[in-house]
């Protein structure tokens, strides 16, 4: 295994004779930022600690109920490995109860004047804003993401989705001209653990705006914010049965997918599970949208604004520990600037702070679960074995307990390497080079996935030409990971089909 630890930037220490007598460091030392230096940042823990019940039942027909299965599973804080609460496991019978409740609620909900539905969505959005800090803290405790991300990204965006769709509720005819939009019916929604509350908002807000009722299953490692959302639904007086939250793992998901009383399945998660769902749904009348994995390309041309492109790389792959379906996990750098980019990236990464997700200064938090850490470790071993050069340039110390992975990147990656082809879903970047725009485009498109891409250049004609020719549902130009409810999100190829957000997102929830 070849690895590069912190690259040295030694310089000749001649000071010249300029009458200056100043202390100067032997080299550019950014490591101080990660602790132990002159200007160490003292811990800045988030002080709000929301009440967490010992156990949570299923939210069916407007109230929390015991699971018929009688089974409960623990929800772990990945930063401490401590059990936070016991979560009900919904059986097939429980899912059936939830679907029945949603079915019974459907006529009244879809028959409500559209502007009244909009009011409920506004109330949800406002209540989420009021409880934003509590939701952010819960999200961080449950999922391991840095508090600054859940506080500044996840929760505000989730609220924004409800506000946005509240506005559409009574304007669907304008959103979808030439049609008379009707709700699809009962929607079964299955969401992943990387953005629990945000993915819930992406699914529930458009469904409710269009007059549907829902049965939603959060991922088994991150149920808490969905259950808190259920409390909000009850609190604002949302009619019973319109939103039902059933917690559980794969079997609960299967029960939703296979339930006859469901009209539409919306799934966000791995491509592997997405394919199973597509097969299960194929012989039925159910509608389906899938938002699956990705191995998105971030392309840096030599004429790009490099320091900003470096920010885009960091944002692209280390945001949320790389647990992002649209993560820019393949970096293509024009050969002429490859060394410069690797050097700048190493410097920038050395200032990343990994650790307690509840610390407001943490840049990279905990890996969501033990299983995911094992997956990432497997890919690191493979990357080393297949001959790429690993750059362990982040010096941040790691806590003793919990699931942690220091962000790193690989150079010398070949397109055939596993780490360049498969989705790692962790803070691991594969760096490759190219020489011409043609080569960049064909390499970027040489992937089973087609979710997102980034293009970095200062040249306007090039940026639009390249963006147009990339097989990706989202292409960010001179930026990365910009999300907005008005902008449709979704993929091509094995990254799924259907769009969420914007007017396009409404289509999936209307007949």
């Amino acid at each position: 295994m070849r690895t590069v630890t912190h690259p040295e930037h030694e310089h000749d220490a001649t000071t010249g004779d300029k009458g200056m007598n100043k202390a100067r460091p032997a080299r550019l030392d950014l490591r101080a930022a990660s602790g132990g230096g002159l200007f160490d940042y003292a811990p800045a823990p988030e002080s709000v600690r929301p009440d967490i019940a010992d156990r949570y039942g299923l939210f069916i027909d407007g109230s929390f109920v015991e699971p018929g299965s009688g089974n409960w599973f623990p929800s772990i804080n990945p930063a401490t490995e401590g059990t936070m609460s016991m979560i009900a496991e919904a059986s097939t019978a429980d899912v059936d109860r939830a679907v029945k409740a949603a079915r019974e609620a459907l006529p009244a909900w879809s028959g409500l004047p559209a502007k009244e539905r909009g009011k409920y969505l506004y109330r949800i959005a406002r209540r989420m804003q009021e409880r934003a800090r509590e939701l952010a803290v819960l999200e961080t405790l449950d999922g391991g993401k840095p508090i600054k991300e859940s506080r500044d990204v996840d929760v505000p965006l989730a609220c924004a989705h409800f506000f946005y769709h509240a506005g559409w509720a009574d304007k669907l005819k304008f959103a979808l001209p030439g049609r008379d939009p009707k709700p699809v019916g009962v929607c079964g929604q299955i969401i992943p653990w990387n953005f629990p509350l945000l993915m819930l908002a992406w699914k529930i807000a458009p469904a409710l705006a269009c007059g549907n009722t829902v049965v939603l299953k959060p991922a088994e490692t991150t149920s808490l914010t969905a259950l808190r959302f259920a409390e909000i639904c009850a609190e604002i007086g949302l009619p019973k049965g319109v939103v039902n939250i059933v917690t559980g793992a794969g079997e609960t998901g299967r029960a939703i997918v296979e339930h006859d009383g469901i009209d539409k399945i919306a799934f966000t998660g791995s491509t592997q599970v997405g394919k199973m769902i597509a097969k299960a749904v194929a012989p039925t009348n159910k509608r389906l949208t899938l938002e699956l994995g990705g191995k998105s390309a971030n392309i840096i041309f030599e004429d790009a604004s490099l320091d900003q492109a470096i920010e885009g790389i960091i944002e692209g792959i280390y945001f949320n520990q790389g647990h992002v379906c649209c993560a820019g996990s393949r970096l293509f750098v024009q050969e002429s600037i490859l060394d410069t980019v690797i050097d700048k990236l190493s410097d920038r990464m050395s200032s990343l702070r990994v650790g307690d997700p509840m610390d407001k200064n943490t840049d990279v938090g905990a890996i969501n679960s033990k299983e995911q850490l094992a997956t990432i470790s497997k890919y690191l071993t493979l990357g080393d074995k297949e001959g790429a050069v690993r750059h362990d340039v982040c010096n941040s110390s790691l806590p003793d307990k919990g699931f942690w992975c220091r962000p790193c990147f690989y150079s010398g990656v070949q397109p055939s390497h596993t780490i360049a082809r498969e989705e790692i879903f962790g803070p691991v970047l594969a760096v490759m080079s190219f020489r011409t725009p043609e080569e960049a485009i064909s390499r970027a498109n040489n992937s089973p996935y087609g979710l997102a891409a980034g293009v970095w250049t200062d040249k306007g004609s090039k940026i639009f030409d390249v963006a147009r020719r990339l097989d990706a549902g989202i292409v960010w130009l001179n930026t990365y990971n910009k999300f907005d409810p008005t902008s449709p999100f979704g993929g091509y190829k094995e990254s799924g089909f259907g769009r969420e957000g914007g007017r396009h997102g409404l289509l999936a929830y209307c007949r």
Binding site: F39, D343, N478
Partner: protein
């Protein structure tokens, strides 16, 4: 005056994309600095302040009270903090006030900084601007804050800009130089980066580049300062030569100050966290820093009038 517009052009400067610069600069404002780190940052900030008065109404008496404040920023430091605080970095005045400042600051460790070169516009013949510098140095200025020729810069005469900076460097002799880009008049980040590179190519190790005169709005902003810090970092990585940075104008609170310090820390490293390499050009910042210190030490916010004006 020789015009060499096509000569001495700086190496082509990297372009700067506004969206991600703004995003990165904003990220430093979410750094949360607490307790000991905050106290250390505030104390560091005091040591980096160029306490400034640049008014037409300045008088020897005004400068005298500024000097007193510069030497002993807080008369109640021992009472509240239990220790005596250090002095600020420099007192920054117009050239006519240099002799007065020098008189009060001699032997104190506080430098006398003088704006010169026809500050703030710089719209004077070069020989007059150079004489302005020489006179200030002769009167005892330890540091000279010059303005670049923005007219020449904006019309693309980069060679003229560079040549004039070199002339001022020469006129400075032993005095340290700070080159004011007046970024509020350069408008774009690309211009800020290019002007930074031009200035850096002309000055000596230990000299500074500085954002603003404080007479033009906007003055210092975090993204502009970040672009300039990146120019300093790139120069250091290429040549091993260290240059200083001074944001000036608009930095009024202790909180802003530690956001800037976080930015310096994470862009250049802790080697730059000293008044030798980083300064704040400010007049009202000092008292807010003291106020933050009192809050940290006693848990209570003092009224602004509890702190003596300079």
């Amino acid at each position: 005056m020789t015009s060499t517009d096509t000569q001495h052009l700086p190496p082509s400067s990297p372009t700067v994309d506004a969206v991600m610069v703004d995003r990165r600069a904003k990220s430093f404002t979410t750094r949360s600095i607490k307790k000991d780190s905050k106290m250390a940052a505030l104390e560091l900030a005091i040591s980096m302040i160029d306490l400034t008065t640049l008014e037409g109404a300045d008088s020897p008496e005004k400068v005298r009270s500024l000097c007193v404040k510069a030497k002993r920023p807080w008369e109640r430091d021992e009472e509240i903090l239990g220790r005596r605080l250090g002095h600020v970095a420099a007192v920054c005045v117009y050239p006519s006030m240099v002799p007065h400042a020098k008189e009060h600051l001699a032997g104190s460790g506080v430098n006398v900084a003088s704006v010169a070169t026809g500050f703030p516009s710089g719209q004077y013949p070069l020989d007059i601007r150079v004489r302005d510098v020489k006179q200030a140095v002769a009167d005892g200025a330890d540091e000279i804050d010059m303005v670049i020729n923005r007219g020449a810069f904006l019309s693309g005469k980069y060679g003229v800009v560079a040549e004039e900076i070199r002339a001022v460097v020469e006129a400075c002799g032993p005095a340290h130089l700070k080159v004011i880009l007046e970024t509020g008049e350069l408008v774009t980040y690309d211009n800020v980066r290019r002007a930074s590179d031009i200035a850096i190519s002309c000055i000596r190790e230990g000299d500074f580049i500085k954002t603003s005169t404080g007479k033009v709005s906007p003055a210092a902003t975090m993204p502009v300062t970040l672009v300039m810090l990146e120019a300093i970092r790139d120069a250091y990585k290429q040549t091993g030569t260290m240059y200083g940075m001074k944001p000036a104008g608009g930095i009024r609170t202790g909180k802003q100050a530690w956001h800037y310090l976080c930015m310096v820390n994470e862009t250049l490293g802790e080697g730059w966290l000293s008044p030798d390499w980083f300064r704040f050009g400010a007049s009202s910042l000092l008292n807010d820093v003291l106020r933050s210190m009192q809050k940290l030490a006693t848990g209570e916010y003092a009224a602004s009038y509890d702190f003596s004006d300079a």
